[in-house]
């Protein structure tokens, strides 16, 4: 297929010169800091606190504002990012985030509010949180929500604690949580922290939960099941209604890992599928930027029967139209020191207002279209373990290249860096050998997706031993990870 229009190339225009650490840029006695005129008595350290507690000044770096700005600006030139080019990291939804959301997060009326200020002084914030919570309930088809969890994994654990509290309230002792073998690592880790044992169910030849195998492990010890839908292969669990029925039948609850919610916005809802607990990754679906690894936000929405267990306090609209905090009757307690990653929540709310109901559906359509198109184009060049209509991402395998040329998924990833793209997620899900998990996202134009596909095909066609040398054009070349672990240098002070 040819698409009219130019290609939005995504070459990482990044430099190749080493940058010293800020410690190496220091000179004794220098500082950028200057302080407001306080006009207070200049009590010395010893007048302020007991002498035996006072330390020598703690040694940090010593640089001027000019050098601090130069240093971190140069570091930024050694960092690939969405704003530099495509970032098809499967499961992570690295889409472009409207810049408006940055402006919202900088509003002084939001940023300059102390979290302990009582509700009547912070009505704007409460209104915002209630608005966001309601919208997220509508998007997921759930009834109530906590906005406290600061990321997806935190949401998972919150959800598992809800599950536990609910079962306990029913007077049941349950011990196991089921997850499919394709699940993300946070799922089993959260299960452990929730005090449950993980039971893994296999995927079938379609890449979906094997319903029979699931039924085989369902019993009265099962607290619930954690699923993503679409799952981590990018495939929709078509039998989700049957799965839900089976789990509910043994008294278990269904937990929805919302990492892949981007795929179904406005199309279908976890609540309608039968899920009881849903976490969302606002940093994936609702355009909170990923920040190099956070902050995100992982609200958890639940069905009616679990509402009373939510962490508190939750913001609510009162009868007289004002807003207040309210702690659910059987709340499991707080899961965050304050109210969650609030500025990230404000970004998500602005993103929802920008897109609206119509726009959110268009998000899902664009994401699914791009990802299916990628799979179609890669057929014949890469193995496609589950070659069926996918949702927002597709998983292909470099097994063919490994067999023929010794070129692994990792080599493909490094070669793609040379081509000017961030690489897909590799070696996940674990059930696919030499997996390349590609999530183009809806914000990449057809031209960019085409350029990405061409690069992947070029890599497959030119695959050779030399690919183990890749990447050759990046700020640093292949990094010695083994040495990092063997000779651990976790701080500047630990350098030999």
């Amino acid at each position: 297929m040819t698409i009219a229009g130019g290609r939005a190339t995504s070459i990482p225009l990044m430099g190749r010169d080493e940058e010293p650490t800020i410690f190496e840029l220091s000179a004794p006695g220098r500082s950028a800091a200057r302080f407001r005129d306080q006009d207070l008595p200049e009590w010395s350290a010893h007048e302020l606190v007991p002498a035996d507690l006072v330390s020598e000044p703690l040694h940090l770096s010593e640089a001027s504002e000019r050098d601090v700005v130069g240093h971190f600006t140069r570091l930024s030139h050694r960092q690939y990012s969405v704003d530099l080019g495509a970032y098809p990291l499967g499961s992570c939804t690295m889409k472009y985030n409207p810049k408006l959301c940055d402006d919202v997060a900088s509003l002084p009326g939001l940023a300059n509010v102390h979290p302990a200020a009582p509700a009547h002084l912070t009505q704007g914030w409460l209104e915002l949180l209630v608005g966001l919570g309601d919208a997220l309930c509508e998007v997921t088809g759930m009834k109530a929500i906590t906005l406290q969890p600061p990321a997806g994994a935190a949401g998972e654990l919150t959800g598992l604690l809800l599950m536990r509290a609910w079962h306990e309230a029913q007077g049941r002792q349950r011990t196991k949580v089921i997850i499919p073998d394709s699940a993300h690592g946070t799922n089993p880790a959260s299960v452990t922290l929730g005090g449950y044992d993980t039971v893994t169910v296999p995927s079938d030849e379609r890449g979906l939960v094997d319903l029979e195998a699931l039924k085989a492990v369902l019993d009265e010890d099962v607290a619930g099941i954690m699923l993503t839908n679409p799952n981590t292969l990018g495939l929709f669990e078509e039998e989700i209604v049957e799965i839900a029925a089976a789990v509910h039948e043994v008294g278990g609850l269904l937990y929805y890992d919302g990492a892949n919610l981007n795929a179904i916005l406005g199309v279908t809802r976890p609540g309608d599928m039968g899920f009881d607990i849903v976490h969302m990754n606002l940093h994936k679906t609702f355009a909170v930027p990923h920040g190099g690894g956070g902050p995100g936000a992982g609200p958890v929405a639940v069905s009616e029967r679990l509402a009373a267990y939510l962490p508190g306090p939750v913001p609510v609209r009162t009868g007289d139209g004002t807003y207040a905090w309210s702690t659910p009757e059987r709340s499991i307690g707080r899961v965050h020191g304050w109210h969650g990653n609030t500025l990230a929540l404000a970004r998500a709310w602005s993103y929802i207002l920008l897109n609206g109901g119509d726009g959110l559906r268009r998000v899902a359509e664009g994401a699914v279209l791009n990802a299916n198109w990628v799979r179609e184009q890669l057929r014949g060049h890469y193995d496609i373990p589950f070659d069926r209509p996918n949702m927002h991402e597709c998983v292909v395998s470099a097994r063919n290249l490994k067999k023929a040329h010794g070129v692994k998924a990792l080599d493909v990833a490094k070669r793609l860096l040379e081509e000017g793209f961030h690489s897909p997620t590799v070696y996940f899900p674990l059930i696919v050998e030499e997996a390349l998990m590609i999530e183009p996202t809806e914000t990449e134009s057809p031209q960019t997706v085409a350029a990405l596909v061409e690069a992947l095909i070029r890599i497959a066609e030119g695959a050779s031993e030399a690919d183990r040398e890749a990447p050759r054009t990046t700020p640093v070349r292949r990094v010695d990870e083994a040495r990092a672990a063997r000779q651990l240098i976790p701080t500047f002070d630990a350098r030999p």
């Binding site: 940090l60 690939y80 940055d102 654990l157 604690l161 880790a189 707080r334 020191g337 920008l354 179609e376």
Partner: protein, 434 residues
Amino acid sequence: MGHYVPHTDEELATMLASMGLSSLDELFEVVPAALRLASGLDLPDGRSEFDVLDELEAVAGRNRTDLICFAGGGAYDHDIPSAVKRVAFRSEFVTAYTPYQPEVAQGVLQALFEYQTMIARLSGLEVANASLYDGATACVEAINLAVAATGRQTVWLSDGVHPTWRDTVRTFAAGTGHDIVDVPLSDGRTAWPETGEPGALLVQFPNRLGCIEDLAEARKVADRTGALLLVAFDPVASGLLRTPGSFGADVVVGEGQPFGTPLSFGGPYLGLFACRLEHVRRLPGRLVGETVDVEGRRAYVTTLRTREQDIRREKASSNVCTNQTLIAVVAAIQLSFLGTAGLRELALRCARASRYTRESLLAIDGVEPLASAPTFREFAVRLPVNGETIVDRMAEEGFLAGIPTDGGLIVAATEKRTRSEIDAYADAMRKVLQ
């Protein structure tokens, strides 16, 4: 209007056609018909960014941001230099993700390596991770580490830890089954039990009443009982006070918000986590290490990955994946900006403002200290009127007076508070108490 999908209608048609499809709806045929939303989401249609910004500005205007802030409790009102904000929010830092491909992520990796170094120095320990969610959840992770290291489920939790942090600890203990034992304060400092076999002691330094805990004593208790000593610290205090590490803390956690992050109604903040090197394989979250590339050039990479959930799964040291990297980068920049001299000066100025505020309040009839232990930048007073009422009345006078506590108010002051503000605050308090 308002969506961010770039495809033109023609392009949509072309792409669909190339896959033998004729409508976008067909993309979702794998979704059982009964599950498909018939009439879309019940949300208003999208709007332009200008309309949205106007609306959110109006909403934001319904918060009181004119109050002069004397509240703390883990969230402090500091000045933030323009340079820190401008550099930290460069889009390369903002729009990247976890550095899975180190070759194109040296910027974030090096910034985190510098951050880890700074947090290790502030805590007085050998290794710090690349961030956790916030101070409260960092406490949870510290407890998990200690229980795993000692094999003991009992945790002695000082009542000097912020109440919401204690709540959070208790919430998660419901999953892990840890036995959380509350330890009361006596005249502002933790009064450890004489006997018991805890796996961990968790104490805050300075504590929620602003009092400087006796960490030497806590270390003795830990030694005696065989527990690990976990300290939740105010990192700004390390500008003036000895580090928790110097007292023998095993794990140090804290809230990093004071380093460049605005109050923000409580998030995103920054969970600090440092520990002794011997515990590094139980460290939660990411860790960046220095190494070399194939050409021998210095390079950074996330390391000891085998602790982490994506590899270790149900046996991982923690479930943390996305954490607070950007806020850690902010902290690294703010700490670089402060530097050695600036950090000391910052701590001194907080302590001076706090002392001046304290003296001004204690000069008012009916205001008494809640405890006699020494304080750093936060302190508690007993008042003749209850704390909530005081906060409400003081808001009318233009102040966020502090955080109410049993029988009083916890008051904090930072380098941002000036003599004239503090004098006005004390005057208002006098008026309100009359």
